[in-house]
């Protein structure tokens, strides 16, 4: 149960990061969002 909640949380944060990436106007922030997003996606897909 806690694992399901954890993965739901990871998916939610990933979604927030993507939304922020789309909305941002600065390339520095774009890079920041993308770099932060990578480990979230890796965990969501159970790669690491």
């Amino acid at each position: 149960m806690v694992t399901l909640f954890y993965y739901a949380l990871v998916a939610f944060v990933s979604l927030l990061l993507v939304v922020n990436l789309v909305r941002s106007r600065s390339w520095e922030r774009d890079v920041l969002y993308v770099i932060v997003l990578v480990p979230f996606l890796l965990r969501l897909l159970r790669l690491k």
Binding site: L21, D30, V31, I35, L37, L41, L47, K48
Partner: protein, 388 residues
């Protein structure tokens, strides 16, 4: 959104995708790399750990168990490699038994990946190489470099405090994923506890007489270059230590398993089964906190100027110089120690002998290298090939 902004986002997203794909491929390969095992002349059957405890069946820890039945009856010895998958000499020494050994008397059971889950990732933030390669006469053989703990993908979350079962002793929280802190396990426990329980069931059902758990240790750790023994194995371990130190040109001590330190194989296997439990530690500078570059080369040569410097300051419990601790030396220590246990056990227990041949000892492994004893995968028939 302007065209310029859109282009900027596409470029940044492409950069992120490249990072994601390259990291993802590396992690996926690390978790799924199939390591071939050529079944040597002594392997009579390959079973699965899950045959002894259904909850492990079909999981990542449903590891292979290589049975080497002797022509004549005798004792039963269990060799565990890969309890800690970041200690490759333990796995490789066990590998040499499976690919080269023949058992004349008694029976040997070998696990190459006791905690297989731990072999599917490296230490988070440790910058470990995901794999390493041993050169053999028939070409390179690649092995997974693992971690000390079960992969969090297979067991999560960690508790604030790990209460060991059944002792109730409080251990480090992360060690709830450490196979060598969860013995004897329990059937309704965590994944790692279930794995330990499955091994205990196997040990009890197969009537194992001697269980050997192969490890490596950092040079800053006091339990190093030694045999840690359960109290019922003190005489055996002491004699083995003396014989090896006298005859094989390397020093190995004996330490007695503390009665009140729980969760380790040398304590719990002996306490919860009739088997004598022993644990071997060989030096591995790769694990030292003061190491330099954490590379494949360092892993295999055991050379590290920073660990040498730590030694000059008296911070180590084992000697090291510019020659390092090559993998052949570490593997050879383990193979000789196992063979010596079999010989000494047989002298002490003539009704339950263990006679093993074909496995190289310390000097031979150093002279020819580990790769010389890894067989040609391409020449092995399908029925003589297994995968870890």
């Amino acid at each position: 959104m302007t065209t310029r902004l859109l282009a900027q986002k596409i470029v940044v997203a492409a950069l992120g995708l490249a990072l994601f794909v390259s990291a993802g491929i590396s992690f996926h390969r690390s978790r799924n790399l199939a390591e071939p095992v050529v079944l040597g002349p002594g392997v009579t059957s390959v079973k699965k750990l899950g045959e002894y405890f259904a909850a492990i069946r079909g999981t990542v820890n449903d590891c292979n168990l290589y049975f080497m039945e002797g022509r004549e009856p005798g004792g039963t010895m269990l060799v565990l490699g890969g309890s800690h998958a970041e200690e490759p000499a333990g796995r490789l020494a066990a590998w040499l038994f499976v690919e080269n050994g023949t058992v004349e008397k008694g029976r040997v059971i070998v696990a190459l990946s006791a905690n297989r889950s731990a072999s599917t990732m490296t230490r988070l933030g440790g910058a470990y190489p995901p794999d390493f390669t041993i050169d053999t006469p028939s070409g390179p053989r690649m092995f997974r470099m693992g971690d000390r703990w079960t992969n969090p993908l297979d067991q999560w979350p960690d508790p604030e405090v790990f209460i060991h079962y059944p002792s109730g002793q409080e251990l480090a929280y992360v060690d709830i994923r450490n196979l060598n802190r969860t013995w004897p396990g329990r059937p309704n426990g965590t994944f790692t506890e279930k794995t330990a329980f499955a091994f205990m069931e196997m040990i009890r059902r197969e009537k194992v007489d001697v269980a050997i758990d192969l490890h490596e240790a950092e040079l800053q750790y006091p339990v190093i270059s030694t045999i840690v023994t359960h109290q019922r194995g003190q005489e055996l371990a002491t004699m083995v230590s003396m014989m090896l130190t006298d005859n094989e040109d390397f020093k190995i001590g004996t330490e007695f398993s503390p009665l009140t330190l729980h969760g380790l194989s040398h304590r719990e296997i002996g306490d919860h089964s009739p088997a004598i439990s022993l644990l071997f530690e060989a030096p591995e500078p790769f694990l030292d906190a003061t190491r330099g570059i954490t590379s494949r080369e360092q892993l295999l040569t055991g050379k590290d100027e920073f660990v040498v410097k730590a030694g000059r300051h008296g911070l180590l419990f084992e000697e090291i110089d510019e020659k390092g601790w090559p993998i052949a030396v570490r593997v050879g220590r383990h193979t000789s120690s196992i063979l010596q246990v079999a010989e000494t056990w047989s002298e002490d227990n003539p009704a339950k002998p263990l006679a093993i041949s074909g496995v190289p000892r310390y000097a031979e492994v150093i002279e020819k290298g580990v790769g010389a004893f890894l067989q040609d995968v391409t020449k092995a028939g399908k029925d003589r090939l297994a995968y870890e």
